[in-house]
């Protein structure tokens, strides 16, 4: 039985993990180092929208939310910014929200925000799109925290899907990806394997294999994406479950 062969290549857990962005940030200690700054910037660039959504839901108008987001990152990326919250604990998501709350508590005054970070562009963040995206967020009674988590989860998925899509270069692969991606969410797709196989000019078995590979790759990417924001490999599953819960209505 072929599947009885032990898979010798275990995922290179520790090795890979040591270099994720969040672990770099946490390990840096000295905020001066270049790798620290870069890692933190990458993370912020990726996950700023949930913060924006959080601020909007808190009742700030789009301009205020914009200013605060920039001011917050300015503070975070400036020297000693991590002192806003304790990065020693937990994952990036919790850290960022805690830091933002802390920041808001210190920065209720709008004039203060103007002075510190308003008008100053730290990261190039696409606020115009953000407003459109925010408008798409369900309007029902999500608390700001819940909304933050939800849009965080969506950001993670969005990033993962974008990366997955980017890997399917070429017209043929692209078409296959577009047709197969519906299977990522599960079995009960309205489209049958047979139809897809016909469409792609493949055998049904080959489609199954392709779906299987796509899923595997998807899972790898998703886990990698999440690994960037947590501290240990074994936290990934927990984070997925948290995010899953955050997506539940």
């Amino acid at each position: 039985m072929s599947d009885n062969t032990p898979k010798s290549s275990t995922p290179s857990g520790a090795g890979r993990f040591a270099t994720t962005h969040w672990s770099v940030v946490r390990a840096a200690g000295r905020p001066k180092s270049a790798s620290y700054q870069q890692a933190l910037e990458t993370l912020c660039q990726t996950y700023w929208f949930p913060l924006y959504a959080y601020l909007r839901r808190q009742g700030y108008d789009s301009h205020q939310a914009e200013d605060y987001t920039q001011a917050f990152f300015a503070g975070l990326l400036a020297k000693g910014g991590l002192r806003l919250a304790d990065p020693k604990r937990g994952k990036f998501r919790s850290f960022l929200l805690a830091a933002l709350k802390h920041f808001l508590a210190n920065e209720r005054d709008r004039a203060q925000a103007q002075k510190r970070g308003g008008g100053r562009k730290v990261l190039s963040l696409d606020f115009e799109n953000a407003e459109i995206q925010y408008a798409l967020e369900p309007a029902h009674q999500l608390s700001p925290e819940k909304l933050f988590e939800r849009s965080w989860a969506l950001t993670v998925l969005e990033r993962t899907m974008t990366r997955l899509q980017a890997e399917s270069a070429g017209a043929k692969k692209r078409k296959a990806f577009d047709l197969l991606k519906v299977y990522l969410t599960g079995e009960r797709s309205s489209v049958s394997y047979r139809d897809v196989a016909a469409e792609l000019d493949m055998t049904e078995g080959a489609v199954k294999v392709a779906v299987h590979r796509l899923r595997r790759r998807y899972r790898e990417l998703l886990r990698d994406e999440i690994a960037q924001t947590v501290t240990a490999e074994d936290e990934i599953d927990a984070e997925i479950r948290d995010l899953f819960a955050a997506l539940a209505p």
Binding site: M1, S2, D3, N4, T5, P6, K7, S8, S9, T10, P11, Q133, L136, E137, P138, A153, L154, V156, L157, E158, T160, M161, Q165, K181, V182, Y183, L184, T185, G186, E187, R188, S189, S190, K208, V209, V211, H212, R213, R215, R216, R217, Y218, R219, E220, L222, R223, I226, D234, I236, D237, A238, I240, R241, D242, L243, F244, A245, L247, A248, P249
Partner: protein
Amino acid sequence: MAEERHCSECGGKLPADAPQGLCPKCLMKAGLESDAEADKTATPDDQSDVPTNATPPGRFVPPEPAELGKQFPQLEILELLGQGGMGAVYKARQKQLDRLVALKILPPEVGQTETFAERFTREARSLAKLNHPRIVSVYDFGYTEQGLYFFIMEFVDGTDLRRVIQSGELEPSESLAIVPQICEALQFAHEEGIVHRDIKPENILLDKKGRVKIADFGLAKLLDKPPTAYTLTAAGHKMGTPHYMAPEQIEHPGQVDHRADIYSLGVVFYEMLTGQLPIGQFAPPSQKVQVDVRLDSVVLKTLAHEPERRYQHASEVKTDVETIKADSPPSQAPIALVGQPPTPASAISRMEKHITIVAVLSIVFGTIGILIGIIAFVAIAGGGLISGDPEAMFAGGGLISGDPEAMFAGGGLISQDPAAMNVTGIVGTAVWGFFMLVSVPEVIAGIGLLKRRSWARILALILAIPNLMNIPIGTAIGIYVIWVLLNDETFKLFAQASEIRKKEQAAGIKPGPKKIVLPIIAITTAILFLIAVSVTILLGAFPWFAIVFGPPLLIFVIFALWQAKGRAATGVAGQSRAAPPRTDRRAVLIGLGVAAIALILTAILILPGLVPAIYMAKSRVASLQEETVEIAPGIQKIGEMDFPYGIPEDLTFGTEGPTLSDECTRTLELEPSEAAQVHKILRRAYRQYLELERQNTQQYRAVNSLTVIISPFRQEAESFLKQFWADLDSILDEQKRTLARRHLPLGQMFGTFQFGGPKVTIAISKENGRFSYYTTYKWPKGSGKSGKGTSSGGGSTLPPKYRRFWEQSATDK
């Protein structure tokens, strides 16, 4: 507004911002490592050409029911119930008997080892014998032609405890109904010699009538894996972690016995009551939810780190839980809080931290105090005793206390020399005794505070009061300590802790191993003390110090032994690790930090006083060592200790040593004729030098004091020296000249007061027949020596180099 769409997989509404139009929930779920659904399409054949680095070991894909059915003709396989690292479970029907059964298949890779088949049969047989209403029965087992190991088991129609806990609807009273049933099952299995090893909510099944059935007995051992790490379901939040495992399962997997199940039961119990896992610093259940406070001790005892401190049998847990259940009204509030407005948990836990900090401060300062006391004691008594030299006693005391008065105390008390004994000296020693008197209780109070003992609170309060007088740091710490200890929350915490202890005592909790640190400290100190006493007696002196140090030490020793014995008697302290005094590591670190800062600040504040004291001690030590210093070209000064006084013939090294003249003859290998000439030169030079010194010396005499000021006369001294060498060289040959320059101890003759280099001020005073003297050296600028130096001392007699002035001026007068 986009039209409403639904996910074909989970039926949930698709949000407008769904990534790539896919259901985000299902996408997220697909990311789970061992989610069965995501892998369903993968046939075993597929896996071989899948990138292997994506396949974590230990995962397997359960076959479809229909496919599996081919291997089990006797069964009708209905559906897959669940799957994890331990295999997969299907609901099936036995066609012949027409009954529902659960079919469990093990992951195919477990059959890899040759010995497995034998082991499987052996274990399965013993599992099949486990016949109990609370245990899922094993009907059959074996392996299929395809090599798949399987069990056919009783089918439990209901749910598992995990889902019940997650529903959040589990009442404490229901938990109290469930736990005894688990205990029954465990007790039965343990008596049969079978340890479950993987008790967790997923394995505790509940049928529709609420009856408990435990599944997967002994499977963890059979599969020889760390049990928990493999199980996962999409909804199970806390799984995939070893939190249900007893510490020894992780630390010493070879030594696991039935008590590991009792620990796991404790984790489940805690989770049932609080909804949380007891990880790290966890609060007892009654602090989190409204449950009988007596349950705390039951839960905490099952969770004891060492197996021997846990309940030894599951039946005991059952008895205790049922006792509490029987005689308590449902949902009783924690006793300490009855009739009072509930205190926010955060305030309480904050106070917990503060109490820990106070305790740490108390222990740290107390320990430092004790150490100072012991060191001072050893230094004062020991140093002097061992050498029998009053000077040494003096040095030891001086080094540590920097207090000249305290130094004499030891010497006087021990030697019983009336000249050395004086009132202030005895007071000085008594101060050290006081140190011990305060420090020992301080440590005791600190330990008591960690255990939340009420008496420790009172003791610490009393001890904080003298602290207030140490302006400013002691005052600050004292105020903080008093604030913490008089706080309302603190009071509640202590009341609660004592309540819990009483309950534990009433429940007859057995003792744990004795804590041995305190008795060891006490016994060591006592032995040191007895050695010191006997050495003193052997040396022929009366151990006066015992009067001062004895009582506090005795109290300490008695306390330490009583403490150890007390544990054995009441067993309360045996629970200390798991019981309410949960020591917060962070608070301990904060406490240590505060203590360190206080010490540094204190050091800075007393530094102005400390520096002269250290200098004094150092100069004394320097004089005790025979240190060779070049003080002028060709002149080496060898210490001061044995400095001879008188003309070269009389100058001796030590009381019995050779004279300077003899030494000169020996080191220079002089012929008798040469020796006579050299001695003559030495004598003359010595007189000349004294004359030179005298010309530059002014003396101010009072009845009992004398001040001598020697002005620098380096230039004259050096020309004198030049002349001296010229005289010597005229009678010595080349070889002896070199020898003379290298060995002639001229420092003995001329170096007494640094050969005219600095301005020397000597103050000598005599009081009650006792001399004391202070010498100050002030080096002129450009001399290459640093500014100022002092040395001082005293005794019943004056050292010769001072005696010279004292006697001379007395006669002059």
